[in-house]
Symmetry: C2
Subunit: 702 residues, 2 copies
């Protein structure tokens, strides 16, 4: 019954989010042109999401029917997970597309401080919906399903549902946003020589829509998935592996820690602490006129982390007793620290005022090839510290709890992910703030507002960019930890199904075993194939959009002289159709690949494929996220007047770097987060079946 507390906290978050949404929708949205542009964006975003969600829900329905054959309750949870993700994404995006124009208006009428609050509150709706819905519904399912070990197994369906939506939303949104961005930029900025967000560009509305469907709805679904995934996989290890060793008497724990349900409640408790800390931290997001809005944004994350660190001490020690609780508390801290390391590294490599970005900008003087090459080298370098940081957090978490018994150590690894993800509320808020201010700046430009308004919206926009790269690192780091937790849950499940003891299980999953190694070799191919499919889709879609924009500018020469109106709708429709068409193959790849590997090569090869896909996904995810932001900011650094400023050779090279980086950082890279989580959760769900039926086993090789 302890799960009622986190459920209540989740409910509070949702209510608070709805109140914020209402306040935003009530605030004035300005006049004439501003409202018109905002209307275009809203319409385009709604039309896209409607199509996207209908495709996703069709696929989800098929999966739900199949799941019902395994467990009807799991199938129910699956549908619930899918709908939660859609709901969080939709509400978040709806508020975002309404908050953008109001932020512009606020900047015009009331100045920086109010505009910041409005934009941040807009992002906060998304942040709170994600953590509120997740915590509430996981806790409620746990209670309704009777709080048993079987209950937790079925709740995995919730995570699976969330993953399914997240994958397609990330991939589809990513293709959309980047095709529109590249298309609009290449013709607009490079060929026609008109500035960004200029209303004469026929692709401009598609570009603005993209920010919302990709960066708000897509990112929201991604973090929602990590969030519930980390919580549920930790609960799973508690309810299956820890319950097993406690009931069998394999491990002797102090009395308070001997109730396995405490281990199931801990992740929910940390999640609830994270929600409260996010709400408190949000009040620190304010800025004086003329101040730098990026500081309070970063500060709020730090405050949130400190609060979680403090609150989780009494929480863990109360639930598990002092001796065990302190160790668990340190594990939560490790997760937080790892999150901060990943974020700070991303910041260093992508910050305009740090050496890497400056060097890439300097190299750009020698042409785009050196922009690309130097950027890539920093992108690869940026992987090193986070990888080591996550490795050490994982190892120490394991050592701290593995002190009692092996499976407790594995639980520690999973819980570190929960610790990191306890910051989801505040980080998601700050991240969703980005596209709102990006749109606000776009609306200010298109509506032809004065220099003073534009300088405010640009400032807000630029603060959003700093947070963006931090949250990108956070998303991939937490995804890797969550996926590791899931793959551990998968192994603990296989151990239970096969009845293998720990020693036997471990040796079956040895990197000396050729099945595991062959699985690993196949595992690296999956992120590679996935990236390839997403990038090809983006380039193809951009190619088609470029053709369309060029056609409009050619056939209606009056557009460039403001004499004719471009057909925004056609550009939006083209990108929509393309994105929807091209999200299906990579999506199915992610779902089917683990199933095929499992049914052909068996559960141990699948475990190898999972771990390889996870570490490769972490590598390529961090690389793509950081390199994209490095190029983006190198371009901005040049635009500030360095190395010749706008229009110089260096700038042209910078624009090319930025264009290359866009689909890496906003489409292919983030999709990897979900790929590795989805693969893991699919394996967890189908694991028991795979143990029974797989080709290698049927042929007699086991």
């Amino acid at each position: 019954m302890l799960a009622i507390m986190p459920a209540l906290v989740g409910l509070i978050a949702i209510i608070y989010a709805l109140v914020l949404a209402k306040i935003i929708l009530r605030s004035p949205q300005g006049t004439g042109r501003m409202v018109e542009i905002s209307g275009f964006i809203k319409e385009g975003a709604k039309a896209y999401l409607k199509k996207q969600y209908s495709v996703i829900l069709t696929i989800a329905l098929i999966i739900a029917v199949l799941l019902a054959l395994i467990s009807p309750r799991m199938s129910l949870s699956y549908v619930l997970g899918a709908l939660s993700s859609v709901a969080a994404g939709y509400v978040g995006m709806w508020v975002a597309v309404n908050a953008n124009v109001r932020t512009t208006y606020s900047a015009k009428e009331f100045g920086l401080g109010k505009a910041l609050r409005l934009a941040f509150n807009g992002g906060m709706v998304m942040g709170l919906m994600v953590v509120g819905l997740g915590t509430l519904l996981v806790a409620v399912q746990y209670l309704l399903y009777g709080g048993t070990s079987e209950a937790v197994k079925d709740i995995v369906g919730y995570s699976f549902g969330a993953s399914t939506v997240a994958l397609f939303a990330r991939v589809g949104g990513g293709i959309y946003t980047k095709a529109a961005d590249i298309g609009a930029d290449l013709v607009g900025k490079v060929e026609a020589g008109i500035p960004e967000d200029d209303p004469r560009n026929p692709g401009v509305i598609a570009d603005n829509v993209g920010d919302n469907v990709g960066d708000v709805a897509g990112m929201g679904a991604d973090l929602f998935e990590s969030y519930v995934g980390a919580i549920i996989s930790t609960m799973f290890i508690g309810a299956v592996a820890i319950k097993n060793i406690i009931t069998k008497g394999v491990v002797a724990l102090p009395p308070q820690a001997s109730d396995w349900t405490s281990w199931v409640i801990v992740p929910l408790g940390i999640a609830a602490a994270g929600i409260l800390s996010s709400i408190i931290a949000s009040f620190f997001v304010r800025v004086k006129e003329g101040g730098d809005p990026s500081k309070p944004l970063t500060l709020s994350s730090v405050i949130s982390a400190v609060i979680v660190a403090i609150v989780s001490y009494p929480l863990t020690t109360l639930l598990l007793g002092h001796e065990v609780g302190v160790r668990v508390w340190v594990v939560v801290l490790l997760g937080l620290i790892a999150g901060i390391i990943v974020g700070m590294t991303s910041d260093y490599f992508t910050n305009k005022n740090k050496a890497p970005v400056m060097k890439v900008a300097r190299m750009s003087q020698m042409g785009p090839a050196l922009t690309i090459l130097s950027g890539m080298s920093y992108g690869f370098l940026s992987v090193v510290i986070p990888a080591i940081g996550i490795a050490l957090a994982e190892l120490i978490a394991y050592i701290l709890l593995g002190y009692y018994q092996f499976w407790l150590g594995i639980y520690g690894v999973a819980l570190a992910a929960v610790g990191m993800l306890s910051l989801t509320g505040i980080i998601m808020s700050a991240d969703a703030y980005g596209p709102i201010t990006d749109n606000a700046a776009g609306i200010a430009e298109q509506a032809g507002l004065g220099e003073d308004v534009r300088s405010i919206t640009d400032k807000l926009d630029s603060a959003g960019n700093t947070m963006k790269s931090i949250s990108k690192g956070f998303a991939i780091g937490s995804a890797a930890l969550t996926a590791l937790a899931y793959s551990a849950a998968y192994s603990s499940n296989i151990a239970q199904v096969t009845g293998h003891g720990l020693q036997k299980m471990m040796s079956l999953l040895s990197i000396l075993d050729a099945k595991v190694v062959s699985g690993m070799l196949i595992g690296i191919a999956l992120p590679a194939a996935f990236i390839a499919l997403v990038i090809i889709a983006v380039s193809d879609a951009a190619f088609v959009l470029i053709d369309e924009i060029r056609r409009q500018l050619r056939e209606k020469p009056g557009i460039l002289e403001f004499k004719e109106k471009p057909d925004y709708g056609r550009a939006v429709a083209i990108v929509t159709t393309y994105a929807i068409k091209r999200l299906i193959t990579p999506g199915l790849l992610a779902i089917l690949a683990p199933i095929i590997v499992g049914f052909v090569l068996g559960p141990y090869a699948l475990a190898g494929a999972l771990i390889a896909a996870i570490v490769t996904g972490l590598l390529l995810g961090l690389f793509q996220g950081n390199v994209g932001n490095t190029w983006d900011n190198a371009k901005k650094y040049i635009e500030e007047g360095h190395f010749g400023g706008k229009g110089s050779e260096a700038h042209k090279a910078g624009v090319i770097g930025d264009t290359v980086g866009d689909p890496l950082k906003d489409a292919a890279g983030p999709s990897l987060n979900i790929l590795i989580k989805l693969m893991s959760v699919v394996s967890l769900v189908f694991g028991p079946l795979i143990v029974q039926y797989n080709l290698l086993h049927l042929l007699g090789f086991t």
Copy 2:
């Protein structure tokens, strides 16, 4: 004493190589300007190699002294390995820089057929030196050291020595060749608008030198290392693990297969078969006037593979008896097949007449960003089939021999690498042929020879390019298999040192174990850091060279009008200095990283780091090799007149793609081959020490 046979075959190869070299050096080298240019190239290459080898041998000497503390005989083998690699590289390169001008002359005087033979014979010297020296010296050491299990352990030093040289030669050569290439191209072709290989370009000689020090000496050292590495690691598993299970009676094998020395001889036998097959196949490299020289080149590899497949059947069945021998024979076939799959996939993705290259060329019409993006997507896609192919070859090899006992299965995995590498002789020959004809074409251009001569040299050059991408795939595929074999040898060694039984050993190396997983997370960071260091070095060196070339063209405006002579020497000196300075950090990283991981986190985390570095290295190695060749050929495809041909927007974009791809395919990518092998062999050598002394163990966590 059976080892005398392969030793003799190795000796034959060396003698044949020296005879070929003599024939080449005796053939006429033409006149005046041709000889002068060839002289510049020779001088530059000699000067660079002298500096490079003196740095490498200094480092090698330090390592040799340290190794002597572990085992003096291993230290001796180490020195021998380093010197063998230097000798093969130096002789091969010396012949190459002499064969280039003679090929040009041959094309001028005797036509395509003779010129092809001459250039191919030039490459063959390198190919035969590599396989001849390797097989001869490994066999001789085995005989001299007494043919014991301890003897084989010490021979690992030979591979370590070869790795050390290979690493620095690949990295240094890679930095040199690509910095020169990019520098010369960016200023020459792009800015000054003069054609490739034009004598007015102050960087042109540096560029020609680069082809030799990078593609001949570097590639030679790389394949030499894979070649001896695969042979020695297979011998190691035979002499340590198989001997152990046979003497302990763990496995009951048919009588002939029960002598462990047979298992040690098999890889040497396959290597000898490969040498003979290469020599026979080389006679098929001929072409009629007006024919296509790329066909006989590809054909010769196929012929060589068929001969090995046929010859190894009696060889394995004689050595190991029919029952076991047939299984071993199939394992050799699997290695050959995997090699062909990797080569064919590389060919598909990089061939001018196949869809991927054409599509990248088409995308280039929309500017360089889409050239880069579409190329990257195909690069990632190109990893999928080889990864699955290697995975299946590895798994089936394991199943076939693991049927008897686990360690025989592991032996199978290693032997598959030997099967693949039995083609080294012919593939290395065809690969070294490339830079010779590339230089020959360059000399024809610079010496202002007629259109007819240039059309022949261009034809020869273009045939070399097809082979280049095939051999690049071969190099990384075989490196991955060799490294896997080494990491298996490492585990078998640790098992012996610790006295752990197989079951215990396997569970210690489980992907469920947090030490192994943390090692894997760190393992992915190593290739990433390595790539970053190499690319940064290339970009920095190119940056400096560009400055120098611009300075010369500015200060001596007469150069462009043929009135003043550029200072080639200064450009050569600058690149030399830079490449030498910048090869040290990545080189030390490769050697020290496994030592640090091992001594801090212990032998099991190190095993995790190894396997993760190997699979990631395979992924990034294939990606970089293929994407670079795709861009290269997309540019060439456009130059043939498609999408506007030379000078069009598409062409400019293609040139940028090519420039980005150059350091990936010729510096960072190939260096990964050696990184993963070197890390594995370092681990094997220091494994026993690491077991005793490591921080985690000393702190009480084991």
